[in-house]
Every structure is written in structure tokens, then in C-alpha cells.
């Protein structure tokens, strides 16, 4: 498979937007402009961006609490994302959800989830609807290594398998669930072997190789529409702490440094240059665009109104 220049551009831009979005978000915390918490995916950009860019609007995704890459990958509006992060009325959820609940049904995102593993059962339902309507689309469910120990993982993969539902289960294994290393939360090394319990296919990929993730997602979609669900494990690493407040005493600086060398953006850049897909200048321009996009989003959010308490009962019931 050889990806077009357009695709590379898209992937590179989205990864840069994601990183810029999060670095900016982190700064906004420091500036005291946001309350609550956030979970950053810096270092993991290739996972959500690679998978979601390979999807169509009609494919659904279920995002995690660490899902800015997933949302940007699925073409969510960055202004509305930032506004939601700031709790503004113009945000995706009118300021009611915050960054743990960002969703955009219009691009196929059925929402980020604050509950570890919370999206898994929902994904089976979205896929059931696709199957019921004989759509040629799939549902992609993101979740972490930690989530794969929840009962919801087991029940959802089993149900999807029994009903042959078109779900791609994507486990972003970043080696930790909060402070708990995978080695202490499960007794296996390759999470993809769990697929066997459900009689479905499981694969494990380098989670920092956006090109390969993109390609494998295209293949997975085809496979799934034919054969039913599949488990894709993306091995990656989170550079920042688990959430805003995390002293990270559970891992070494060396480990973090090692993984920073495997930076997915840097890797993609190298690939692009080596294969002469774009020039250094072109890439710099994309990087700049990402920065501008986020600046605009910050401004949009800053100038947006707060939600009003008078509207609080809206949306409790349809």
C-alpha cells in the first residue's frame, strides 16, 4: 500500500494539531483558565490519528478520556473542542461535558468516556445498528491497557463476536493504567492474545507508527465487514503524567526519555523525508498551520460565552 501525499499531510497535520492542542491545554491549566483535570495523549498521537483518519464519517468511534488524538483524527472541530475544554457555551457539549465527554455525533464520534471501559458496551450497540441496517461501516472502540482488565472488555468482545458485529476494538497500550504498570495489572505481555478468548482475530502494532496504523486500519475495516470484530493493540507510551496532578514516581526518567526518542511525529517526519513525499519546508508549514489552528481555537474559546444556569435542565431529557 502506498499512501498519497494528501494522506500523509493529513496525518502529519492532525498529529501536530493534537500535540499543540494539548500543550496549549496544559498551559491553560497553569494559567488557571480551566478547572477540573485533563488526560494528555502526547506521545500517543499516532494511535487515534492513524486509526481515525482511515475511517469514513459513517464509521463511529468511541473515545477515551485520553482522546484528543481520536477526536482530531475523526475531524472534530478544534474550535468546539477547545471551547468545550474551557467549559464554554459554544463547546461541543455546551460546556456541560468538558474534555472527558467531548463528542461530535455529526462526524461519527459517539463521545469520550470518563469511565474506564465505559465505551466498550456502547460500541457493540452502535455496531449492532450498523449491522441491522446493513451499512458498510464499522464502529471503532478505543480503550486502554488498564481498561482491558474490566469486565466490560470481556463482555463486549464476547458479545460482538457472538453476533459478528462490525467493531474494531483498539487497545492503546501505553504501559500504564494511571500508576499501575501493565506487568502488575495482567500476567501477559501481548494484550492482543486476549482475542483468542472470543474466537476473533487480534493483532499488535507499533503504536507510534502512524503510517502502518493507518494502513492496518483500512485492512481491518475490510476484514471486519467480512468476518466480524477484531482486536488491535497499539503499543505506545504516554509522555506526560496520567492527569494534571501526577508526580510520576512509578516510572523512571530514563524510560520516558527512551520513549520520547520514538516520538510518533518525529518518526513520521523521517518517513516523509526519506521517501521524499514532502520537503522539510512543507512540513514546517504544516507545523505552523497546526499552531495557528490552535491559536485560533484558543481565541474562539476565550471569546465565547459561558453557559447559563437557566438552560441547565435542557438535555436532561429529550
Amino acid at each position: 500500500m502506498k499512501l498519497s501525499k494528501e494522506i500523509h499531510k493529513e496525518l502529519y497535520l492532525k498529529m501536530n494539531q493534537t500535540r499543540e492542542f494539548e500543550e496549549t491545554a496544559a498551559r491553560l491549566f497553569v494559567e488557571g483558565k480551566v478547572h477540573g483535570t485533563a488526560h494528555f495523549c502526547i506521545g500517543e498521537e499516532a494511535t487515534g490519528v492513524g486509526v481515525c483518519s482511515a475511517l469514513e464519517v459513517e464509521d463511529y468511534i468511541l473515545q477515551t478520556h485520553r482522546g484528543h488524538n481520536q477526536g482530531i483524527g475523526k475531524n472534530m472541530d478544534i474550535n468546539k473542542m477547545m471551547a468545550e475544554f474551557r467549559g464554554k457555551a459554544t463547546g461541543y457539549c455546551k460546556g456541560k461535558g468538558g474534555c472527558m465527554h467531548i463528542a461530535d455525533f455529526s462526524v461519527g464520534s459517539l463521545g469520550a468516556n470518563g469511565v474506564v471501559g465505559g465505551g466498550l458496551p456502547i460500541a457493540t450497540g452502535a455496531a449492532l445498528k450498523q449491522k441491522y441496517n446493513k451499512e458498510k461501516n464499522i464502529t471503532v472502540c478505543f480503550f486502554g491497557d488498564g481498561a482491558s482488565n474490566e469486565g466490560a472488555f470481556h463482555e463486549s468482545l464476547n458479545l460482538a463476536s457472538v453476533w459478528k458485529l462490525p467493531v474494531l476494538f483498539v487497545c492503546t497500550n501505553n504501559l500504564y493504567g494511571m500508576s499501575t504498570p501493565v506487568s502488575k495489572s495482567m500476567n501477559i505481555e501481548d494484550i492482543s492474545i486476549r482475542a483468542a478468548s472470543y474466537g476473533i482475530k487480534g493483532i499488535a502494532l507499533d503504536g507510534n507508527d502512524v503510517v502502518n496504523i493507518y494502513e492496518e486500519t483500512l485492512k481491518a475495516k475490510e476484514y471486519i465487514l467480512e468476518n466480524g470484530p477484531m482486536l488491535m493493540v497499539l503499543n505506545t507510551y504516554r509522555w506526560m503524567g496520567h492527569s494534571k496532578s501526577d508526580a510520576q514516581i512509578y516510572r523512571t526518567k530514563d524510560e520516558v526519555k527512551e520513549w520520547k526518542e520514538k516520538c510518533p511525529i518525529k518518526q513520521h517526519k523521517k518517513f516523509i523525508l526519506e521517501n521524499k513525499i514532502m520537503t522539510e519546508d512543507e512540513l514546517v508549514a504544516i507545523g505552523k498551520q497546526a499552531v495557528e489552528d490552535i491559536e485560533k481555537a484558543v481565541e474562539f474559546a476565550e471569546n465565547s460565552p459561558e453557559p447559563r444556569i437557566e438552560d441547565i435542565f435542557d438535555d436532561v431529557y429529550a
Partner: protein, 326 residues
């Protein structure tokens, strides 16, 4: 009018709605060929086939979330949890996801699903198969909660629940499944809107506010009292959320004496809500006795049939409570 059982009424409601709405599906454990643990869905698999009547593995969390996901994306769903006690396994998807999705996503999408589950004791199934957990779900904004007491109510309210665009928890009463009652003819599109209490028996001396299988029991007691000239009004709230406060309050004002009866354990039960609604309102000034609650004893349901019968409000206890009020 023809008479059918409560179970048949539920079956009819589901079947009729499935006939008119092709996007409606129904899933649960052993609901297909087997017809459901209580036989409620008998014949539906044969009529609607395996694509719309989905037998599931034993996996309450997943099927509840599956229903929510399908409903968020365009289908309408009914999910049966075999005993309401097993909602304990599904509360995450029900309370954190189905109930909150619309709000937390700022109004994007809705979750038109009905979670049906039978509750209550009296079948000798002991502590883990006999609970009445309506108070839990009534405390979760985003959910509606229905408990019908007659076949007609079961049918009309279930049809309304299925057409509702919100997640509705529809709690059936095991001991009523085989009870017959008048239900409008099949060709009528018989709907009872959610949020309307029903005065099952009019009276002027005392108000009993109740729901579910206690309704008939209260009516029986009321009929006994009527022999002595005491006219008890029996108000069946039918839907806990939304609650028809007006009907409760005006009945309380009329009689000045209120007894709240439910099967669920008294402490923390929905009775507290009902009492509060009355005493917080201007009905307070019309009351000439303390409002009384009569709930189940605060114990797990015991197996022994003699004990089991005595831990919920009996006719004797209801009678005594009314006498206290008079």
C-alpha cells in the same frame, strides 16, 4: 372488554410496537425461543425473527450498554434483564452512560431504550432474586421509571415507554404476570402517557399512595374499610419519574390523611420521596395526622414462604396502619 394477563399485555405492547416500528429491536437472556424466564416474550421470536429478537449471552453490563449504543445511533431498543436484581451488574451503563449521555454531550443524540426487569418477592427465590430496586433508578436524572399495577397499565405504559425518546426503566411485578385484567381491544392504539398517576379507587377519608403489586392489596383493604363506611382513596402513581405530584397532593388535601405503601425496604425507599412531596406542599396544612409510610422490612427477602409473605406490607399491616391514621 377482553381480559388478558399482565404478561400478555406486556407481550402485546412490545409486539404491536415492533410491528409499527421496524427500527425497534429487543434483546435479553433467553427471550427468544424460550420466551423469557417468565414467558413474557412467548411467540415473539417466531414472529419477528432472530434479527430483531436477540438472545444474548449472560452479560448484563454489555447488553445494557449495547442497547444504549444502538439507541444512540438510531434504533430503538428494549432490553430485558431477567431479574431486576441483576440491574446491579448493569448500573454503570444504565446510570453513567444511558442516563447521562444526552446531557453530558450537550443534547447530541438521545437514548430511546426501555430496560424491562421484573422485581419483587413472593416467588420463593430468596434474597438475590426478589428485590425492589426502583428507588435506585428513580434517583438518577435522565432515567424515567415506570411500575405498572394492572394489565391495562402495563400495556399502555409500555407502549408509551417504547415511544419515549429517553431511557425508561420499566419495572414489572413478578407476582402480577399471571394476573388478568381488562385491556382495550387489539385494534386500539392504547397508550397511557408517562407521568400520570391513576386514582384506582376514589375515597374521601384517607389517601393511600402506592404502586406496583401493592395497589391491588390496598384496594382490597379499602373495600373492607368501605364496609364500615370509611372511604379510602387509592392513588397508583404508576410512574415514579416523572411523578404526578399534583394528583398526590390534591388527594392528600381532600382526605387529610396519607399512608404511603410499597414493597421495597422502607429505609431509603421511594416512599420517602412520596411523603416529602406531600408534606412539602400546601397539603401539609390539610393534614390532620402524621403521614405514615409502610414499606417492606429492612431485611433481605427470606426464602421460607411464611417469612417471605410477612416481610412485605400485608393486608393486616395496611389495615393497622390505616386504623392508626383514623
Amino acid at each position: 372488554m377482553r381480559e388478558i394477563t399482565y404478561a400478555q399485555a406486556i407481550n402485546e405492547a412490545m409486539s404491536e410496537e415492533m410491528r409499527r416500528e421496524k427500527n425497534l429491536i429487543f434483546m435479553g437472556e433467553d427471550i427468544g425461543l424460550y420466551g423469557g424466564a417468565f414467558g413474557v416474550s412467548k411467540g415473539m421470536f417466531e414472529e419477528f425473527g432472530p434479527e430483531r429478537i436477540l438472545d444474548t449471552p449472560i452479560t448484563e453490563l454489555a447488553i445494557t450498554g449495547c442497547a444504549a449504543g444502538a439507541s444512540m445511533t438510531g434504533l430503538r431498543t428494549i432490553v430485558e434483564i431477567m431479574f431486576s436484581d441483576f440491574m446491579t451488574l448493569a448500573m454503570e451503563q444504565l446510570a453513567n452512560q444511558a442516563a447521562k449521555n444526552r446531557f453530558q454531550f450537550g443534547g447530541q443524540g438521545s437514548v430511546p431504550m426501555v430496560l424491562r426487569a421484573p422485581g419483587g418477592s413472593g416467588t420463593g427465590a430468596a434474597a438475590q432474586h426478589s428485590q425492589s430496586l426502583e428507588a435506585w433508578v428513580a434517583h438518577v436524572p435522565g432515567l424515567k421509571v415506570v411500575i405498572p399495577s394492572t394489565p391495562a397499565d402495563a400495556k399502555g405504559l409500555l407502549k408509551a415507554s417504547i415511544r419515549d425518546d429517553n431511557p425508561v426503566v420499566f419495572l414489572e411485578q413478578k407476582l402480577l404476570y399471571r394476573v388478568k385484567g381488562e385491556v382495550p381491544d387489539l385494534d386500539e392504539d392504547f397508550i397511557i402517557p408517562l407521568g400520570k398517576a391513576d386514582i384506582k379507587r376514589e375515597g374521601k377519608d384517607v389517601t393511600i399512595i402506592t404502586y406496583g403489586r401493592m395497589v391491588q392489596r390496598c384496594i382490597k383493604v379499602a373495600e373492607e374499610f368501605a364496609k364500615d363506611g370509611v372511604e379510602i382513596e387509592v392513588v397508583d402513581i404508576r410512574t415514579l419519574v416523572p411523578l404526578d405530584k399534583e394528583t398526590l397532593i390534591s388527594s392528600a388535601k381532600k382526605t387529610g390523611k396519607v399512608l404511603v405503601v410499597h414493597e421495597a425496604c422502607q429505609t431509603g425507599g421511594f416512599g420517602g420521596e412520596l411523603v416529602s412531596v406531600v408534606v412539602e406542599s400546601d397539603a401539609f396544612f390539610y393534614l390532620d395526622a402524621p403521614v405514615k409510610r409502610l414499606g417492606g422490612l429492612d431485611v433481605p427477602i427470606p426464602y421460607n414462604p411464611g417469612l417471605e409473605a410477612l416481610v412485605v406490607p400485608t393486608e393486616e399491616k395496611i389495615t393497622a396502619a390505616i386504623k392508626d391514621l383514623l
